[in-house]
Amino acid sequence: MPPRLTPATTLVLFALSRGIRHGFDILDATGLESGTVYPILRRLEEAGCVRSRWEDQRRAQSEGRPPRRNYELTGAGAEALRAAVRIHPDTVAQFAPNHLLVPRTR
């Protein structure tokens, strides 16, 4: 069943398409609440628009933290994004990838 394409869903899809992979990074980039974003991710994953994988254990350990869950867009997800942007052309303007200004740990 295709997911409901709400403005929030559009934003989440758009963030994923920009290579933002982790839940909290999506929160930062979209300004949405965690109570909104996580259920969307679950729904998108179930609809096959999003795929999730666990981060490499060794890499996480080298940074002194537990592994994080990565989300990425599937082909169906990219389709959904195109449809969503057609419905909500203005929502994407809200997208504020301010987390990119934050120094990332390598």
């Binding site: 996580y38 679950r42 994080r68």
Partner: protein, 894 residues
């Protein structure tokens, strides 16, 4: 060799995530926790790298974790597990059904707590807290005259036009400084009854100063206020929508105001009503009063320049005022000025009573929450054994907590629903009973955010104390509870101590409220039973105002037409069947009117500006008789005291006491500076002394007052006073037709009874007293419920012990006395604390009381007695139950 990673601390919020994980279906629970934890740790580390303050990170992460609730619930729902467990709710409902008393008490507590508080807070918010709907209202200030020596009788709050102009020109703190004066005019039209309208005469910049723009048409221009300019008026939105039916073509039309053709130039927005409650405004036209520095009759409002504080503006104002004081000592002696925020000035006198109410609702909410906590704790304690059995049979603590939660949820939800109903009804009742003096009453509505907030507080308290007992049970609690067989042990005593403390606190709070209400009720009783100098029954009055345009006050003919009108009026009205007597008075016995200054003839010389002041109350012959005011000495004024005869007057007792203590005032005289009407005497001899009218309020001592014959003091504005056995409604058409026989262009106000006016005069104290009494009664009821709860718990815990003692020969009476004694101990502790609190708070209430001390011993004693009675009543049922314990049954239950 790899360096082991530095250990990471648990990030903020992970506790919550672990707690919430219980909601997530078992097979995905571990992964869910790992995902949230991974994000939290990463975010915390990034925050450290960014040098973000730790508190900020904590708040941010906790907030995100709250969102995990939705995530967890979504997963739960998605796996086909019910979010709110239907079985739990059903079970809770079933278990509550067997305890209708408990349910009723909890729901009542919540409904009263939420409802009463919201209703009163909505009123407080509407009147006191909500900002006026004007742009940058924080910069709007009211200017009031202030005496430098504190003598408010000599320096009133109003400002004269020349003073206003000087203040405006010599200060720099204000963007605008505007002045206004209220008056009444008659609007006449061909096809409708004449109407009396409240007009406000303002300086041209008044509307600009408020920050508003006319809804239609234009604002005043400076030219509109110049002498000889054509008359113009701005209508209030209310008048425009009412009388002119919202016709947009009204701008440019001519209307007749007191017979003067006046052009409507625009309509003002409704928001202006919050500070200027008139029907229309007109520019202040320069008249003789506008050049008199002694004519203090304008109220001044200002808009501060951006960045100027009220303190800075006030000090500048004081400086200018002291210059004026030196420059014009005869008018401005000891006159300074102060500034008040507009809102504070408007709310003014209502502030104290509203703050008292506000204090009362806070106390009531505290009591309700305390009670709720005590009720839930008691309930938990009484079910300890049942819970222990279920735990022993394999129920997990989470399951038990969920069931408690479901029960609390059902109760608080029901309480919330009833709370809304109580809030709505309470609100309607409050506004229905509110005295007319309550400012901004039309803006008051039920406050939804407050309702939600209070609902949330109550639900939080409910859930907290509802679930707490289940969560907090010790691990060995089940076995201990089973072993002890429900007998009291150390643990039980500690919990009982907590409940007792809650009840003592509740009683203390209720005591404070009860004393407050006792004082207000006593005050009200005093007012209603104050010895009354007038006889208000079968006396009716209506106000009559002759327009100055047709009834000239100045000029060679000044006052003549006025006197003709009132002479004919008395004849016409006296001819109405059923009217016993007719009189005229300036103001009625309950209205204070205004004052003027005078000299005692032959008295010592008093410097200009420092002369004594007395109320001016012109009357016709027969007024004292009509209202039942006793003539103590001398004679009434008569029709022979014409304007061309020697001046005479009657004074009240307060006047006689002020100037002629211990001797007769009759035969003494006063001097007025110059005549106000052509031919008016300036020397008035006192021919009589009457009792004091309660014109400053029932129960309040009166000021000195002077009663001139109306024929020597021909005011245009007078009150017609008649005595009749008929009703005011049946008198009105008769009186109106008689007035119109003399002058068909006069508006006629409703005829009101003096009894009714007296009711209005005590409306505000009645309102306060009723409200606080309702609160106190609610608080006492809640406290009684609290006492009952603790005692019945004690009895249920001690059944076995009491049974044993009775088996050993203890007397039933003794058992009963012991339980009641315990109740009295609880109340005693609370009452002592509450009485001390009320003693300390006495000062707050004192400003609302007339002749009743805030520490009135009778009220304190009365409340103490009521509390004792409440304690005995609340304790009686549990005590009775304890005394009926059958030793055999109690011991067999072991």
């Amino acid at each position: 060799m790899t360096i082991p990673p530095p250990p990471f601390r648990e990030p903020p919020g992970s506790v919550l995530v672990r707690m919430l994980s219980r909601l997530v279906p078992r097979d995905s629970r571990e992964e869910w926790v790992a995902e949230w934890r991974g994000e939290l740790v990463a975010a915390a580390k990034q925050a450290v790298l960014r040098d973000e303050p730790a508190t900020l990170t904590t708040v941010r992460l906790w907030r995100r974790c709250l969102g995990a609730t939705t995530d967890a619930l979504w997963l739960r729902h998605h796996h086909g597990e019910p979010i709110v467990l239907g079985t739990d709710l059903r079970q809770a409902a079933r278990s509550l059904r067997h305890r209708p008393g408990y349910v009723a008490v909890v729901v009542l507590t919540l409904a009263l707590g939420i409802g009463a508080t919201t209703a009163v807070f909505s009123v407080v918010n509407g009147v006191l807290l909500r900002p006026l709907p004007l742009p940058h209202v924080e910069r709007l200030v009211a200017l009031e005259g202030q005496p430098t020596d504190g003598d408010l009788e000599k320096v009133n709050q109003w400002t004269s036009y020349p003073d206003y102009a000087d203040l405006r020109d010599r200060t720099h703190s204000f963007e605008q400084l505007a002045a206004r004066r209220r008056w009444q005019v008659t609007l006449t039209a061909r096809d409708a009854e004449p109407a009396r309208l409240n007009v406000t005469y303002t300086t041209a910049n008044f509307v600009t100063a408020t920050g508003l723009l006319p809804l239609l048409g234009r604002n005043f221009r400076v030219a509109d206020a110049e002498p000889g300019a054509p008359a113009v008026a701005l209508l209030s939105e209310q008048l425009w929508r009412g009388r002119f039916l919202g016709d947009r073509g009204v701008v440019g039309q001519q209307i007749q105001l007191d017979g003067v053709p006046t052009e409507i130039i625009g309509v003002l927005p409704g928001a202006l009503q919050t500070i200027e409650n008139g029907d229309l405004i007109q520019p202040i036209a320069a008249g003789p009063m506008e050049s008199a520095r002694g004519a203090h009759r304008l109220t001044v409002l200002g808009r501060l320049r951006d960045g100027v504080t009220i303190v800075q503006a006030e000090s500048e104002l004081r400086l200018v005022a002291s210059q004026l004081e030196k420059q014009y000592p005869e008018n401005n002696a000891k006159r300074s000025a102060k500034l008040l925020p507009m809102q504070a000035q408007l709310v003014g006198s209502a502030e104290t009573s509203i703050l008292v109410l506000f204090g009362a609702i806070v106390l009531l909410l505290l009591i309700a929450c305390t009670n709720l906590a005590a009720l839930f704790l008691t309930r938990a304690a009484s079910r300890e054994r049942e819970m222990a059995v279920r735990e022993a049979l394999g129920a997990s603590r989470a399951q038990l907590a969920r069931q408690w939660g479901a029960e609390s949820f059902l109760l608080t939800a029901a309480g919330g629903v009833f709370g809304v109903v109580v809030a709505w009804l309470g609100m309607r009742a409050l506004l229905g009973a509110a005295p007319a003096s309550l400012p901004r009453a039309s803006e008051i509505g039920l406050d939804l955010p407050v309702l939600l907030f209070l609902g949330a507080v109550s639900v939080a308290v409910g859930l907290l104390f509802g679930v707490l007992p289940a969560v907090q049970r010790r691990r060995d609690g089940a076995f201990a509870a089973l072993r002890s067989g429900g007998r009291s042990n150390t643990e039980g005593r500690r919990k009982r101590g907590m409940r007792s403390t809650l009840v003592v606190a509740e009683v203390a709070l209720a005591t404070v409220l009860a004393i407050g209400s006792a004082l207000l009720v006593k005050n009200l009783y005093r007012m209603q039973h104050a010895p009354l100098s007038i006889r208000p029954d079968a006396v009716y009055t209506t106000q009559i105002q002759l327009p100055n345009t047709r009834y000239a006050q100045a000029g060679p003919d000044g006052g003549r037409r006025t006197l003709d009108f009132y002479r004919r009026l008395r004849e016409e009205v006296a001819a109405i069947p059923g009217i016993h007597s007719v009189a005229l008075a300036y103001q009625h016995p309950l209205a204070e009117g205004w004052t003027t200054s005078y000299h005692i003839a032959g008295g010592e010389h008093v410097a200009a500006g420092l002369e004594p002041e007395a109320r001016v109350r012109p009357v016709s012959p027969g007024y004292f008789d009509a209202v039942g005011l006793r003539l103590l000495e001398g004679r009434d004024v008569t029709d022979r005291d014409r304007i061309d005869m020697p001046g005479v007057m009657v004074v009240n007792q307060a006047f006689a006491r002020r100037h002629f203590p211990g001797r007769s005032a009759v035969g003494q005289a006063i001097e007025h500076g110059s005549p106000w009407w052509p031919g008016q005497p300036t020397h008035f001899e006192i021919v009589g002394v009457v009792a004091d009218e309660p014109f400053l309020g029932i129960g309040r001592p009166a000021d000195p007052a002077t009663y001139f014959p109306h024929s020597q003091y021909p005011f245009n504005e007078m009150w017609l006073v008649v005595t009749s056995e008929r009703s005011s409604a049946s008198l009105y058409p008769d009186i109106r037709s008689r007035i119109w026989r003399i002058d068909p262009l006069l508006p006629v106000d409703p005829v009101v009874s003096l009894r009714g006016l007296m009711g209005d005069a005590v409306a505000e104290p009645t309102f306060n007293a009723v409200l606080l009494s309702l609160f106190a009664a609610t608080a006492l009821l809640l406290a009684a419920i609290g006492i009952y709860g603790v005692l019945s718990y004690t009895v249920s815990q001690r059944t076995a012990e009491i049974g044993l003692r009775m088996a050993l020969g203890a007397d039933r009476d003794l058992v009963r006395r012991q339980i009641v004694g315990q109740g009295l101990m609880l109340v005693g502790g609370g009452a002592v604390a509450g009485l001390a609190g009320a003693w300390a708070l006495a000062r707050v209430l004192e400003s609302l009381l007339l002749g009743v001390s805030g520490r009135d011993p009778l009220s304190f004693l009365g409340v103490a007695v009521v509390l004792l009675a409440v304690a005995v009543l609340a304790a009686w049922l549990p005590a009775h139950r304890a005394s009926r314990i059958e030793p055999v049954v109690a011991l067999r239950a072991e």
